[in-house]
Symmetry: C2
Subunit: 211 residues, 2 copies
DNA sequence: GAATATAGTTGCACATTGCCACTATTTGTG
DNA sequence: CACAAATAGTGGCAATGTGCAACTATATTC
């Protein structure tokens, strides 16, 4: 029989606010690291959770009162030293939401973090890197927007995630080629100028290059 | 206190043999699934293992007598039903080796698997997909060759992993651009014709697009 | 020394991308 | 009611990248 291992899930919940990626952090209500900032997370409940993804959804439901439109497994972080209670493994997940859904959570810039509990700073860094990389070949950033959006809005989001200016014409051509959007017939978003066509994601819009 | 979770590592050890990806499988010496084919794996030893990667290396050392030149974490597979002993999580790793190093292991085509224990068929499928995807933009297949190799040998390997013919000229141009090889000055491999320049990987030759 | 087999390079047609100018449709203003 | 302003959306072309094939280079064999 092997010695006891602590099994947890943590979630890097990201959104785009003030033109940059921000992560949801909570003050830990109890030891270890009581009072310090940490990712939402918790033990895996073998009785309740179908798998670790279900545990991640449960944590978000209980602690953040939301169900994200996008969630994927990022990887497992393990070792004797990352949790003072003992040898632990955290299966880290990455989730994306729109910023408007949740007004009452505390957001922090993913690239300018305060001191975090455990090894959570590494998990946030890994998640931000993953989002940026995956954004260059997938529809991932669309999950940072409401379900319907204009191409200009989408371009702005991509540009902020990738941290670089994007050409309108090339961007739209690429979207056409990749073919993961669908036009919503007759739906437009009118600002004070010419109204823009609304789009939404087709099913299966995020390709997984890794697993 | 949460209910007990079984924490294991499994390794999808891949090589290229008979022009296709093959995976190392072992007959399980004990229950569960006694006598059936399975991936090399085992419990995480909290006393000995620095982290799950160390556990994966230990498993390969103990069960396969080797240390692979390449190993990465693939992902965690979890749930109540995958192991009859109870709710379990397996942190699956992917490792690559040259086929010649290990003559006494049993290899099976990754795309034509026999019946496997646990959910190991899914793990092998995930690993094979990852290797193929990652091969299109990284030096990964080079780990399926000895430390030094010719460009023609490398091209053959890439072509077999990707399952498609590759143009010699375009292939070499891409290698030059990506710049992860270094020429070994004065080292040639002579067949019965013109000898070929030998190369080896520079450090950090595999980019991780994901973590 | 000519045939042959593999290593390695060069040049060009074709496809893809980045860039910029153009048209289209709305609101606001005299 | 014309026209300026602002954003949406398209089209065309130069520059860059890729696929393909012919070419040169260097070894062995007979």
């Amino acid at each position: 029989m092997p010695a006891q291992v602590i099994v947890t899930v943590d979630v890097v919940l990201l959104t785009l606010k003030d033109e940059r990626l921000q992560v949801a952090l909570m003050k830990r209500p109890q030891d270890p690291f009581k009072g310090e900032l940490a990712l939402p997370g918790g033990y895996v409940h073998a009785e309740d959770d179908a798998d670790v993804a279900a545990a991640a959804y449960r944590v978000l439901r209980d602690k953040m009162k939301l169900r994200p439109p996008y969630l994927e497994q990022l990887g497992s972080f393990s070792g004797a030293r990352r949790d003072p209670r003992g040898w632990s493994i955290s299966v880290c997940h990455l989730a994306l939401v729109t910023p408007d859904v949740i007004a009452d959570t505390h957001w922090f810039p993913a690239d300018k973090l305060p001191r975090l509990a455990f090894d959570h700073a590494s998990l946030v860094a890994a998640a931000a890197t993953r989002v940026r990389n995956k954004s260059s070949y997938s529809a991932l950033p669309a999950y940072l927007l409401p379900e319907t959006f204009t191409l200009s809005e989408l371009q702005t989001i991509y540009s902020q995630v990738l941290g670089e200016a994007l050409e309108k014409s090339s961007f739209r051509r690429k979207l056409r080629d990749l073919d993961f959007l669908e036009e919503i017939p007759g739906a437009f978003k009118g600002g004070k100028q010419r109204p823009a066509q609304l789009y939404r994601l087709k099913g299966m819009a995020v390709f997984d290059r890794t697993i």
